[in-house]
């Protein structure tokens, strides 16, 4: 029975994942890999950073995801004058029925299931860091009082790679809190034609919820626990640890990587690799992680955790190139 139960749970995960993906695909044309990465990040219990130029569907993807999962959705447009209280909430003086005046906490937009932090790099570091506690601890502290966020809590932040004037580069510590970073590229010719056709007609497609709104948060949490249950053999842990160490500019690593990387991935990168790989294993119908699963999520997991050197910048080397190099040199770790 136990094996059958596990097989049924995996099938259920696959069905839910596939259904959400199909619903999002009704309104979002293309970007299949990005949608998969976002869903993987959600079920792995992390947060995702999306980098893309304006108008490529970042907001639409996040909104569609929330609608498909029947989860609450909030959006914060980050600007330079955004204050931390605008995110976490604030205390206001209110009068009770007895006529007493007391401070009451008004929750901010962070109290939701799916939060879109649009153009997060436009806010000041102080405001950005207000989001840190929420992302890491799933709670916020306002005026000494801690308020837990309702699970599931999923942050999707976007970065605009252009118009860097007046922006505040996200600190490495904050970047490290995102499980994945994905890049949203321009759609292809065919995708663009489909986008034009589907968004300018009399009827625009709508997303139907896949989960029951009443039980959706619980169901998502179940699926997240299922992901955590996936088996990881010691040789996979060794591989992931070796992969993370290969991103460090140490003497053991690849010479090019040593030249290109100033700071390698933190241990959080390894955690992201394993959690993402677990989702991939479930999608493949396996109760255990394989090396291929780790490789598949390596780019999304490590891309934003590498601090490139000046040499890499002058040579136009991107983090993806470095990760490809790391994966190539990690071949000796596979068995």
């Amino acid at each position: 029975m136990s094996a059958d139960g596990a097989a049924a749970a995996i099938r259920s995960f696959q069905e839910t994942f596939g259904a959400v993906r199909r619903e999002i695909a009704r309104v979002v044309v293309g970007h299949d890999e990005v949608i998969d990465a976002i869903l993987s990040g959600l079920f792995a219990g992390g947060h995702v950073l999306i980098e893309g130029v304006p108008g490529t569907g970042k907001t639409l993807i996040v909104r569609s995801l929330a609608e498909a999962l029947a989860l609450r959705f909030s959006r914060i447009q980050f600007t330079v004058d955004l204050m931390p209280a605008d995110i976490t909430g604030t205390r206001i003086v209110s009068e009770t029925a007895e006529g007493r005046r007391e401070f009451a906490f008004v929750p901010g937009p962070v109290f939701t299931h799916v939060l879109l932090a649009d153009e997060i790099n436009r806010a000041t570091p102080k405001t950005q860091s207000a989001l840190l506690e929420a992302m890491a601890e799933q709670q916020v502290t306002v005026a000494g009082a801690t308020h837990a966020l309702e699970a599931p809590f999923f942050v999707l932040a976007t970065l605009n790679p252009i118009e860097m004037e007046g922006t505040y580069q996200l600190p490495e510590a904050q970047l490290d809190r995102f499980l994945f970073k994905v890049r949203l590229d321009y759609p292809s010719q065919a995708e663009l034609e489909r986008i034009l056709g589907s968004t300018t007609g009399a009827e625009t497609p709508a997303v139907r919820p896949v989960l029951d709104p009443e039980t959706a948060p619980t169901r998502v949490e179940e699926l997240k626990r299922l992901v955590r249950s996936v088996l990881v053999a010691p040789h996979i842990e060794q591989y992931v640890a070796g992969l993370v160490r290969l991103t460090l500019p140490g003497p053991d690593g690849d010479s090019e990587v040593r030249r290109w990387v100033a700071y390698g991935s933190s241990p959080r990168g390894g955690q992201a690799l394993l959690l993402g790989a677990k989702v991939q294993a479930l999608l493949d119908g396996r109760p255990h992680v394989a090396v291929e699963d780790v490789d598949r999520v390596a780019r999304a997991s490590l891309r934003h955790r590498l601090v490139l050197s000046f040499a890499a910048e002058t040579e136009g080397i991107e983090p993806g190139t470095v990760i490809d190099r790391v994966l190539a040199s990690a071949a000796r770790l596979r068995r």
């Binding site: 596990a6 995996i10 053999a233 040789h235 394989a290 068995r335």
Partner: protein, 410 residues
């Protein structure tokens, strides 16, 4: 909850794959090594039979290098393909695209529990037919490698069996009757297609030649156990072991007609009077053999009044002193690898040259120039060098006329 049953089944199949793979790897390597060694041995034997000293040295050296290289390569190949217990699951996973299923279940056995491990175990049991030992390692016996080894061994055996047929033709012996100057050189060659036996005298070497010869001698003394010596010994040993030398002596005795008439040469004081040398292009100019039709005893008689050191003395004919080289004995038994008589030979191997029939030496025509190049006789000394013990029997046959020598004293 433990799962000893299914895990044991999986482990047994892993062991079966290991056994099968390792047997294949070992046998394949052995087959290839035997093939290589047999081919090298065949070539070495052929070169010992047919080739000269230098050729044999090169072939033997190349053979040793080839065998060593093959051994190293095969050892590396075995090391790479040998399936160790720790690496076996991973290799099977990769070979049969099991996506780490096998490795994970074996590593997690005893550590993991719960539904997911039960499912993993069941998936492994279900996947057992996908990596049956006969599928992972289709052939235990490396047929091609073994066939190659058998063919190579057969070739070696055939070479050994046919060794007497494959040997070089025996050297043609020519008797010269004119005294010839010789200069000692330490250049050697193991085989010759012609031997010249003629009275000789030591050439007064020029200062340069003497220095060169001295250097050669010093080198030879300082390096008594060089690779060349070892190679030469090996070639001689091979020829002896294959029965080539005996067959040559027994099958082709030197006819008695090769004796030359005339006065016996006096016993040499410093070196033998009869000096067999082999002819080559350098000595004859055109490489023509100095055969028995060349100048004979008359020349020897004319030279009788001027015996050189070790040369034929006054009144000596071309016929040699029967005890000139001592009593015949087995040089090989003494462990020598050289014909220890102080004969000199210029060796020039020409394989396949048809031997000239043995004939008695005719009377020397005074006006006729010897077959050796004129400059060779008159101005340029021949090279006198150690020759292989292979030539000992033929020279002994020519000179050791015991019956004739019994009534005469040297």
């Amino acid at each position: 909850m433990s799962h000893p049953g299914p895990t044991q089944v999986v482990l047994r199949q892993v062991r079966a794959v290991r056994r099968r793979n390792n047997a294949h790897v070992a046998q394949h390597a052995a087959g290839l090594w035997v093939s290589t060694a047999a081919i090298v041995a065949t070539v070495v034997v052929l070169s010992a039979l047919r080739g000269g000293r230098v050729a044999f040295e090169l072939v033997a050296l190349a053979g040793v290098v080839a065998v060593c290289a093959a051994t190293a390569l095969l050892a590396r190949r075995v090391e790479q393909r040998w399936l160790r217990a720790r690496a076996a699951p991973g290799r099977i996973d990769a070979a049969r695209e099991l996506r780490g299923r096998l490795t994970s279940v074996l590593e997690l056995e005893g550590r993991a529990r719960g539904d997911f491990f039960a499912l993993l175990l069941r998936q492994n049991v279900d996947a057992l037919p996908r990596w049956r030992p006969e599928d992972v390692v289709p052939d235990v016996i490396p047929v091609r490698a073994f066939a190659g080894a058998v063919v190579a061994i057969c070739a070696l055996a055939l070479t050994i069996v046919l060794a007497p047929v494959l040997r070089r033709p025996p050297p043609r012996v020519s008797i010269g009757d004119r005294r010839m100057d010789f200069v000692t050189t330490h250049r050697t060659s193991g085989t010759a297609d012609r031997l010249l036996v003629t009275p000789g005298t030591d050439h007064t070497a020029t200062q340069r030649e003497a220095a060169g010869a001295a250097d050669d001698a010093r080198d030879e003394e300082n390096e008594p156990g060089t690779l060349a010596d070892a190679s030469e010994k090996l070639q001689d040993w091979l020829q002896q072991a294959l029965g080539v030398e005996e067959r040559w002596e027994a099958g082709e005795p030197v006819p008695s007609g090769t004796r030359q008439d005339g006065a016996r040469a006096p016993r040499p004081q410093k070196r033998p009077a009869g000096t067999p040398v082999t002819d080559d292009g350098a000595m004859t100019g055109e490489g023509k053999p100095i055969d028995a039709q060349g100048p004979a005893s008359r020349h020897a008689g004319e030279d009788a009044g001027e015996p050189g050191p070790g040369g034929a003395g006054s009144g000596a004919g071309a016929d040699a002193d029967p005890t000139l080289f001592g009593e015949p004995h087995d040089e090989g038994a003494a462990g020598g690898d050289r014909f220890e008589l102080a004969i000199a030979a210029r060796v020039h191997a020409r394989q396949g040259t048809a031997p000239t029939p043995w004939t008695d030496s005719p009377a020397v025509d005074r006006d006729r120039h010897p077959a050796l190049a004129g400059r060779q006789w008159a101005e340029q000394p021949g090279h006198r060098m150690p020759v292989s013990r292979t030539f000992a029997p033929i020279v002994r046959r020519i000179f050791a006329h015991v019956a004739q020598a019994q009534g005469e004293s040297p």
